[in-house]
């Protein structure tokens, strides 16, 4: 059964704030630790760069989707 839209928007606002903090920490880490390595791969070993790019994007997509879903469950169960 669908929840009322006002309730959903309220949860979304909380999720966005928590997620933004985690996302900022995450992309600082990614840029810090992977930036130089990926730039070297890009210039020197293009095939490995392509493989790494596809794996990183797919892994991040699945990981962040689980994170957002998990956050959503935690916030909703906390509110109930």
């Amino acid at each position: 059964m669908k929840e009322p839209i006002q309730k959903v928007l309220h949860y979304i606002a909380i999720e966005l704030v928590v997620y933004a903090i985690l996302a900022i920490a995450y992309f600082c880490l990614v840029l810090q630790f992977l930036g130089t390595w990926l730039a070297e791969l890009f210039h020197e070993q293009r095939i490995y760069y392509v493989v790494a790019s596809v794996l990183l994007m797919t892994g991040q997509a699945i990981g962040l989707e689980r994170l957002v879903t998990g956050l959503s469950h935690i916030i909703r169960s906390g509110k109930k």
Binding site: A23, L38, I47, S53, L64, E65, S72
Partner: protein, 304 residues
Amino acid sequence: MFFPISGVHINPLLLGILGLVIGILGGFFGVGGSFLSGPSLFSLGMPYNFVVGTDLIHIVGKSIVAARQHRILGHIDLKLAMAMVVGTLVGSETGVDAIEALKRSGEVNLVVGLTAIAVFTGISIFGAWESWQALRKSRATPSDADGQKKDILVFDRLAKLFHGLPLPPRISLKQSGIARISIWSIVLVSYIGGFFSGFLGGGAGYIRMPAMVYLLGIPTHIAVGTDLFEIIISAGYGAIRHAMNGNVDILVALVMHTGAAVGAQLGARLTQYFSGPWIRLAFAPLPLLGAIMVATTLITSHHS
């Protein structure tokens, strides 16, 4: 912040916010959002070759998130999606070949630009008219148990024509509520989507989503979810090709995707609260926005 692969300085927060907006649009409408992200990345100072490739790989990540969410909601017809893959890839190749042929003739910008304006404007006007008529008609029909209006299609003549195509093999699409349809109808529609993906760039959801609704008669929610699945295939294929040619800055794409991941989930969840005609009506101005952006680029590059 400096991004060493493309050699540009971009504020990562801007990238995250841009990703969030595009993610919401993508999750809600089943489009890649390249008509918005492409010009935005370009205006942030990224070279155009990197804009195209980086945008494509970011679209792949965002579409994975949104498609997973739509799958949970039961909005993906996997049989339809699989039947569309070949047409999408072959169409995409034809579109890229057409671009190469136009490059040789020296008229690529003008022809692609005018085609994009004509296609985007046509989709916008037709979509706005049809969804408005469908909304008027749906007011007279009762809501279902969830308080949701039934997905009404006013202009279903082309869908009937496509359903009636007698060419074998004919398959049934239970998830989409279609008893029998020729696989060639599906291949043709996916080929058109793939062609425009290769010809105009991006995942071509702005073509494929309405084409699935108006030509194949797929319910809007299923068309949105299934289109996202197709975008993963078409944009993924394009992204790998561009990455091989050195046109992808994965760091920019990853940062943008942190915003897009949450936006895509939110957009997908919000589709539950709107009926098919409302989603189609809200979608109508988006291609027009793309047409305005292309027209502006054509005019400014003509004068420069």
